[in-house]
């Protein structure tokens, strides 16, 4: 890590987005993670995604739990409110925050320990609620801050730095999310920004719970030979049946693919996600097929990446509850309080 703070001046020549902001405006404080940490690349991808979407910084809310991954919410979009919750409980904070104001963009960053062990219950129920947020799971198979214990995503046979092999079955966040009915399930690799940035953008456009499992190697505790979450291993063992492009609202879909080769998914905000099939037999709108595909590849020690499953038609958290279009935190008190004369009427039922 570096202790030299980045100066807040930007090169006047830097490209600006529709809001007149440059990429530096979407950065946060200096990362304190290890040099070469996959998480820093994910942070950079979030910065790029938000910059390209020209999101007003204050329209973003950043949430996390505890762990290396959870520190990263401090490293992007300094102009957004951030909430570093307790270990494994970020989804409940996100649920409450979203309940209070449905009009902000909620980006949650978590890790495999935070999401798949201590927080597995909260993750499951955020999926069930179809909470409108992007949930980025920075997955390295290891506990970093406590110095190298296996996490619940460690593969059977994967070796720790000390040479010990994991024997417990891993929880695959993608299969887990598909089984629970998540409406947007993606996987990517921290070293593949070209794939990751459009996935984050598509996840932000998705109305509902968008989980992105990002294989994000730990250079200090899990980047050795014998690990299935090392840079070298992940690079050689990923397969993407589908590529996703995010097409902003009003932007034309320029690329033409032969029928059957691509699917365009219209998102709620008017944007489109263009899915190009790299494997002609794959269908990212078929949940059972997606699960079987991921499972088959997992048995061959392959990680399936890309936008694995999407269903834009599902009702999100607020639709399920029938809440007002207005954010609950700004409904005028006069509309909330029935007043003294109504109270007298209410109380007549108790005489």
């Amino acid at each position: 890590m570096s202790f030299i703070a980045k100066p807040r001046v930007a090169n006047p020549g830097l490209p600006r987005n529709e809001l007149g902001l440059n990429r530096r405006d979407y950065e946060g404080s200096m990362s304190t993670l290890c040099a070469g940490c996959g998480h820093d690349s994910v942070t950079a991808a979030i910065v790029q995604a938000c910059f390209e979407l020209a999101l007003p910084p204050q329209s973003v809310v950043k949430l996390s739990g505890i762990g290396c991954s959870s520190k990263t919410t401090a490293y992007f979009v300094a102009g957004a409110h951030g909430f570093n919750a307790v270990h494994g409980r970020m989804p409940s904070i996100a649920t409450g925050a979203n309940a209070a104001n449905r009009h902000l963009r909620y980006i949650g960053v978590s890790g495999d320990g935070d999401s798949l062990s201590i927080g597995v219950g909260q993750l499951a129920h955020a999926i069930r609620r179809n909470l409108d947020m992007v949930y980025i799971l920075e997955n390295n198979g290891v506990y970093g801050l406590t110095k190298g214990q296996f996490s619940a995503s460690a593969d059977v046979g994967s070796k720790s730095k000390k040479g010990e092999a994991n024997e417990q079955q891993p929880i695959d966040p993608v299969l887990f999310s598909l089984a629970l009915g998540a409406s947007f399930v993606a996987r990517s690799f921290s070293g593949d920004k070209e794939q990751l940035v459009p996935l984050i953008q598509a996840g932000l456009a998705h109305k509902g719970f968008a989980i992105i499992d990002v294989l994000s190697p730990c250079v200090t505790f899990n980047d050795h030979e014998g690990s299935t979450k090392s840079y070298a291993y992940v690079r050689e063992h990923t397969e993407s049946p589908v590529s996703a492009d995010y097409i902003a609202p009003r932007e034309e879909i320029r690329v033409q693919y032969a029928p059957g080769e691509s699917i365009s998914v219209p998102m709620h905000d008017g944007s489109n996600v263009l899915l190009r099939k790299l494997d002609p037999d794959y269908d990212p709108t078929d949940r059972a097929l997606a699960a079987a595909y991921v499972q088959q590849r997992a048995m061959r020690n392959e990680y399936v990446t890309g936008l694995i499953y999407v269903d834009e038609s599902r009702r999100d958290f607020h639709e399920q509850h029938g809440t007002s279009e207005s954010a609950l935190n700004v409904v005028p008190f006069e509309r909330l309080c029935p007043g003294a004369s109504k109270l007298a009427k209410i109380l007549t039922a108790f005489r």
């Binding site: 007003p56 910084p57 204050q58 329209s59 809310v61 919410t73 401090a74 300094a78 102009g79 957004a80 409110h81 951030g82 909430f83 570093n84 919750a85 307790v86 409980r89 989804p91 409940s92 904070i93 996100a94 649920t95 409450g96 925050a97 979203n98 309940a99 209070a100 104001n101 009009h103 902000l104 219950g121 909260q122 499951a124 129920h125 609620r129 607020h318 509850h321 029938g322 809440t323 007002s324 279009e325 609950l328 935190n329 700004v330 409904v331 008190f333 509309r335 909330l336 309080c337 029935p338 007043g339 003294a340 109504k342 109270l343 007298a344 209410i346 109380l347 108790f350 005489r351």
Partner: protein, 606 residues
């Protein structure tokens, strides 16, 4: 019949008890009797003793008729309606000398009529039901309604009042009014024909319930949340707090739903557990909505980690702890005041929390609204500590008042304009010297952004492991707690000049008040203070200092209020004498008087 001692005539001053099997529909018959007496203008106290079970276990309902308007149990039973064969023996024993017992004489029970100091009335309820009603379910239900008719004859309840209540209950099902009324009349007639009605204990019309309602504390707290502008409720179902959320849902469906679009100005989330429930509340209040969670002791235990985060990161939250008997699962449907210490110091590290202690449904209503104001003003969790007795029993209560000029106090939240006007926003400063910093809500401006964290932070909100920066924030939190002591509801004080005093809280107030009247009547000079909030204000300190002998009356084994007083005030420990009630049932005045008299006999007073 042999001569039996008869009770002295006691008009509007006696206690009925109904012994039933739960799940049999007895609750509506019992509340019909209570409401009828209330409608005749006579004050009543209703206590429900129910099992943690859906069907088949014993359940009791006690109705005290009290012309004086006392609010506690009387501690004696004058008329027992013994409908549960399983508990018959004990129910028979519980009747006071000179009292009465009604039982179902369809099956002979001669061998159990072992007492000759009470009178028993056998009514063949089951047989009468079988002769008059069709279907097993109807016969069970009508048996209950029928004993209500018998009781009406015995204690002289006006049948027209009962008919009026049934007509209101079944406004949309007039047929049910007729069938229920038929059962009432059968039970009523049987009693009139076979026994001397009314008894020496009986009801006579009064005018002492005008302007009052019969309401439970959970419903009242829910109403308070509605009126205070709460929009987000999150909870995990747990006895005895579920009815609070149920009531909130009913009120919101009626008063917070757009009649045209059906859209709701509220959100109720049934969480996966209490950990998530409090997380949702913290997330929502952090984001500017008024949010609350109703729970009980086991829920508080699970929430502790998040409560510490809200304390340290200074996020408002409102919790209703409807206390039940612990430890562990304990007795989930019995009452206690056993979470004082666990709430006051919930979570690891140096944490202290604001507590409110309502004594009645009326205060549940008022303190619900106060809790949101305090939580937002102080930016910290606020606990409303009710209990099963307050939360789930119907209490006679003056109609609640609401001031239409009242507006929520959202505390120090900077607006978009205020943010625009300052050079740089800093989250944890203390510009006003009261220990309370300024906060901002997400969504207004990049200038307003800050990072909320439970890790060590400086006054600027930045992560820190620097000792001085850490202590700076922690010491400000101490100052904030001192501010809280000035803002919580003040203790209610009755008398200041005696050497002796009672200190108590919450639902103890009803029996303590009655005991106080009894003690004073018998010449004991004694003062009373009911604490209503924690941290304790200066008035608590002064009251303790001004008295030599102080009886601390509370409903737990470990003297938790006494412990809080010794930890948080300068009072001498040896001045405080505990009177503890922790069997899970609400206390009576007799218990308090007895405890004080025994202590005085032992020479406790100076």
């Amino acid at each position: 019949m042999p001569e039996r001692p008869s009770a002295a005539p006691r008009v509007n001053d006696f206690t009925l008890k109904f012994a039933n099997v739960n799940g049999s529909g007895s609750a509506s018959a019992n509340s019909l009797v209570m409401k009828a007496i209330f409608r005749m203008g006579v004050p009543v106290v209703g206590k429900n003793f129910f099992p943690s079970n859906i069907q088949g276990l014993p359940t009791w309902y006690e109705i005290r008729v009290t012309r004086e308007g006392w609010r506690a149990r009387s501690g004696r039973i004058d008329l027992m309606v013994a409908m549960n064969a399983e508990t018959y023996g004990r129910d028979l024993r519980d009747v006071a000398v000179g009292g009465y017992l009604v039982y179902d004489s369809t099956w002979p029970r001669n061998s159990l009529h072992a007492r000759d100091d009470i009178r028993t009335f056998g009514v063949p309820f089951a047989q009468l039901c079988n002769e008059n009603f069709e279907g097993a379910r109807a016969r069970t239900l009508m048996k209950n309604i029928m004993y209500a008719g018998t009781v009406a004859a015995l204690i002289d309840i006006d049948l027209e009042v009962i008919r009026g209540l049934l007509a209101e209950t079944f406004a949309k099902k007039p047929k049910l009014v007729e069938s229920n009324m038929k059962a009432i009349e059968i039970g009523y007639r049987y009693a009139r024909e076979h026994f001397e009605c009314p008894l020496t204990i009986r009801v006579e019309r009064m005018d002492a319930t005008r302007g009052h309602v019969m309401i439970d504390g959970n419903t009242a707290a829910a109403l308070g949340c509605l009126y205070a502008g709460a929009t987000v409720g999150a909870w995990y179902p747990i006895t005895p707090s579920t009815s609070l959320m149920d009531a909130f849902r009913t009120f919101c469906a009626r008063h917070r739903t757009d009649p045209e679009t059906g859209r709701r100005d509220y959100m109720i989330v049934q969480a996966e557990d209490e950990l998530a429930a409090i997380g949702i509340v913290i997330g929502a209040m952090w984001n500017g909505a008024r949010a609350f969670t109703p729970t009980s002791g086991p829920g508080i235990s699970l929430m502790e980690e998040f409560i510490g985060l809200a304390y340290y990161a200074e996020v408002p939250a409102v919790l209703f702890d409807v206390q039940r008997v612990g430890p562990s699962t304990g007795m989930p449907t019995r009452t206690q005041q056993c979470d004082l210490l666990s709430c006051a110091y919930a979570s690891h590290g140096d944490t202290r929390h604001v507590l409110l202690f309502p004594d009645s449904p009326e205060e549940c209503f008022q303190m619900a609204a106060q809790a949101f104001d305090l939580a937002e003003r102080l930016q910290t969790p606020v606990f409303v500590l009710s209990d099963i007795d307050i939360g789930m029993n119907d209490w006679m209560s003056p109609e609640f008042a609401w001031d239409d000029a009242w507006r929520p106090d959202r505390g120090k939240v900077l607006t978009t304009e205020q943010i625009a006007g300052i050079e740089k926003f800093q989250r944890y400063l203390d510009p006003d010297g009261d220990g309370i910093p300024y906060r901002t809500l997400p969504g207004i401006s990049p200038k307003a952004a800050y990072f909320t964290r439970g890790s060590g932070h400086s006054r600027f909100g930045a992560y820190t492991e620097d000792s001085a920066e850490y202590k700076d924030v922690l010491d400000r939190l101490t100052r904030k707690f001192a501010t809280a002591a000035k803002q919580v509801p003040q203790a209610v004080i009755d008398g200041r000049n005696s050497a002796m005093a009672i200190v108590s809280l919450g639902s103890c107030d009803a029996p303590v008040r009655e005991a106080l009247a009894g003690l004073r009547k018998s010449g004991v000079a004694i003062d009373y203070m009911r604490v209503r909030g924690f941290p304790f204000g200066a008035e608590v300190e002064d009251f303790l200092a001004a008295h030599q002998t102080i009886f601390v009356v509370e409903q737990n084994r470990d003297a938790q209020l006494r412990a809080l007083l010794t930890l948080e005030t300068a009072v001498e420990k040896k001045k405080l004498h505990s009177i503890l009630h922790y069997d899970g049932l609400p206390m009576s005045a007799a218990f308090v008087i007895d405890g004080i008299e025994r202590a005085l006999d032992k020479g406790v007073a100076a």
